[in-house]
Every structure is written in structure tokens, then in C-alpha cells.
Point group: C2
Chain length 221, copies 2
């Protein structure tokens, strides 16, 4: 099995931080959370590189959200965010990922107080890049994420803008649910989310010190 197939096969949960960039909260008219909140995507929604396209369910307004993702390397629970070594030691590698969202389904769920699982959980709703070795990202709070649609840049921001940093995210998640090897954490999306239509091509990239990481590229229809 290829590394990427194994990644999908070994992933038992995907935990996604919501509302973690101020300008993204503003663009969707959401309120800023006092503490990190998160939701689950099923591992069945993972779309491996070159396994596209993303499938748009009928009647769905399909939005992209580019995010830095963490692959967990060991079982951790009840972590303290001040234990930076413990927290960052739990990270095995990184990915770039697109948290595809059925925005109209999500908006209706929000209005009705219903779960987000359907809006976030369709097959193909989680395109990922190849695995980015941990050593390629010396500081996950200082990388530049971008997403373009048909070569027009739509999202382009630095992870330094995260409201809750990664140690806080992992600590909060681990106080609710044990994180296990193979789990994936999505760290939130910067501003610029929007919709795509059939045939549109999304390209995502991640830069460290101005240099593009080849493993971090996503190109998907």
C-alpha cells in the first residue's frame, strides 16, 4: 500500500478547528469563539492526490477552505497546552488540506441547531496533499497557505494569523477525545473562502520562508 493509501486507511478520525482566523470569521458573519471548537469529518471523505474530482452533491453550494493539517503520530490525551514539547511531539507530519463544505447545508444546520456532519462529511470533501515531513516546517505558525481557483488567487495568508495556536488546539481536543496515531487535525482556514463549480480547478500551495513545498501542492477539479 502506498504511504498515502495507508494514511487514509489508518486515519480513524479527522478533527477540524472552526473559526480560527479573524478575517474568516468576519466574512461569514460568525462570532469569535472564546475557546477553540471543533467538529469531525469522516475518514471516508479523504480524497488522495490525483484521485479527484471533488464531487458536488446535487443542490449544494460547494465551498473550499484551505487549511494546514497535522498528522498525529502517537496516542495522547489530556495534554496541557503549556507542554509544548508534548504537544508538538504528538505531530508526526503535516499535510495541506481543503475542508470542502456544503455551505448551504451548513447554514441551514446552523439555523436549525443541527449537527454539521452532513455538510462537512460527503465523500471527496477532504482533498489532501502528499505528506509533508515534519522537518520541512520548522515553525507551523509561520507558513503561507494559498488557494487559487482557475489560477485566480482566492486565499493567501500566513498561519501566524491563527487565533488559537496549535498547542492550544491539540490540548483542547485531547481533553475531549483521545488522539491516536493516524488521526488528522485541520487547523482552520484563513479568509477568502468561496464556491466552486464543476470544472473549476483548485490549486493549493504552502510556502516556508517564501519557498514552495513540493509535497504540499494540491491540484484538483
Amino acid at each position: 500500500m502506498s504511504t498515502l493509501n495507508a494514511l487514509k486507511q489508518n486515519c480513524r478520525k479527522v478533527i477540524c478547528i472552526g473559526r480560527n482566523y479573524a478575517d474568516h470569521i468576519a466574512e461569514l458573519n460568525n462570532t469569535r469563539p472564546k475557546q477553540p471548537f471543533f467538529f469531525l469529518k469522516p475518514s471516508s471523505s479523504i480524497l488522495l492526490p490525483d484521485h479527484g474530482p471533488v464531487l458536488r452533491p446535487k443542490g449544494v453550494s460547494l465551498h473550499y477552505e484551505v487549511e494546514l493539517a497535522l498528522v498525529i503520530g502517537r496516542t495522547v490525551r489530556d495534554l496541557d497546552e503549556r507542554d509544548e514539547e508534548g504537544v508538538l511531539g504528538a505531530i508526526e507530519s503535516y499535510l495541506l488540506a481543503i475542508d470542502m463544505t456544503a455551505r448551504n447545508v451548513q447554514e441551514e444546520a446552523k439555523k436549525k441547531g443541527l449537527p454539521w456532519s452532513i455538510a462537512k462529511g460527503f465523500d471527496t470533501f477532504l482533498p489532501i496533499s502528499s505528506v509533508i515531513p515534519k522537518t520541512a516546517i520548522p515553525d507551523p505558525h509561520n507558513v503561507h497557505l494559498s488557494l487559487s481557483v482557475n489560477d485566480q488567487v482566492r486565499q493567501s495568508d500566513n498561519t501566524e494569523l491563527m487565533l488559537f495556536k496549535i498547542p492550544r488546539q491539540i490540548a483542547e481536543i485531547s481533553k475531549v477525545m483521545t488522539l491516536e496515531k493516524g488521526d488528522i487535525v485541520l487547523t482552520g482556514t484563513p479568509k477568502g473562502v468561496g464556491s466552486v463549480e464543476a470544472g473549476d480547478v483548485m490549486k493549493c500551495g504552502i510556502k516556508v520562508d517564501g519557498k514552495e513545498l513540493q509535497e504540499g501542492r494540491i491540484e484538483v477539479e
Copy 2:
């Protein structure tokens, strides 16, 4: 690895149907859904028999919901509910399960339009029974579920009361997310949900034709 350890280890998602019994909808003042909706619990929340107690996070109003659960035996997607054979053929075995819920956390999430994942996803929030062989339940829409707290019966109803039957549930889920071997589906809870305190003992049982199934017992603090 024991069968039950393997069950937890091989489970990649747990999909739970919400509001599937009319009297339970009424008791929580919820509105009746026009179509089945569902949410995810992480497999890390599974609590195997004799691995208790259920852990109550600080400040949480901890509610029980007894439910009939299905263990999926093969990969299925886009099933048609009228294809009863295809749907029921996807079921490998049954479990009894308690969908533990941080009710106050869920109520706040509902009010704010936030996801349910935290309210539903804490470690130990999914106590399950031993595996019930498929042959032991000739008709999953005609079994009797019960839950008692300190030997006082709190939930006691027949699965014939389900608003959406199992073929409809599996079909709807499979149109959103591919179901895979080892996935678990919770089919909703009848009326009578309520809270438990530390030290309370929950016992659950399932009867077919008035006869208790030994494999289906849960006893957990």
C-alpha cells in the same frame, strides 16, 4: 486481540441517527425531521464491556440514550432504500449501545448553531454490549430496548417505533458517506432519556420475542 478490542480498533466511524422516535423528539422539545439526519461520534469514544466507568467531564449534564446499533460488514455507497437486500446485507451484526451526551453542551451548541461533535464525542461516551450475531435478531424493527438506572426502568420501547426504518437510514447515510466494514450505525433512542450522576449504574437490555439476549447486556457505572 479479542473480538471486541478488534471491533473498536477496526471502527473508523460511528454514525448516529438523531430524532428517530416521536416521543423522544417531544420530550426534548425538538422538531420532527423531514428526512433522517445524523452526526458522528469518534471511535475513540467507544467503551467496551467491563471497561467502565463512563467519565463525566466537569460541569457536564450527562444523559444516556439507549440505541440499537448496526455493525457494517462491507463497503457500500449510494444505496437505494428499496434495495432491502442490499441494505440489510450490509449489516454484519448488532450491538446495544448508549449514546452518552453532554446535554448542556449540546443545548448550547444547538442555540449557537455549533457542531455537536464535542457534546457527543468525549472518551467513554459510547458504551457498547458484546456483539449480537445477526441471526439472533430476525427483525431489527421488532426488538425491545430498555435502560435502567439503579434498577429503575427509564427507557423501555420497541424498535417498531422508529420513524425512519433501517433501510432508509443506511441509504441516506450511504448517499453522503461511504460506509465501510467496521463502521457502526446508531439508530436513534426512544423516549425516557435523562441524566446520571457519578456512582449511578446503568443497565441496558434487548429482548427478542420477550427473550433477553445475553450478548446485548450492558452494565456500566
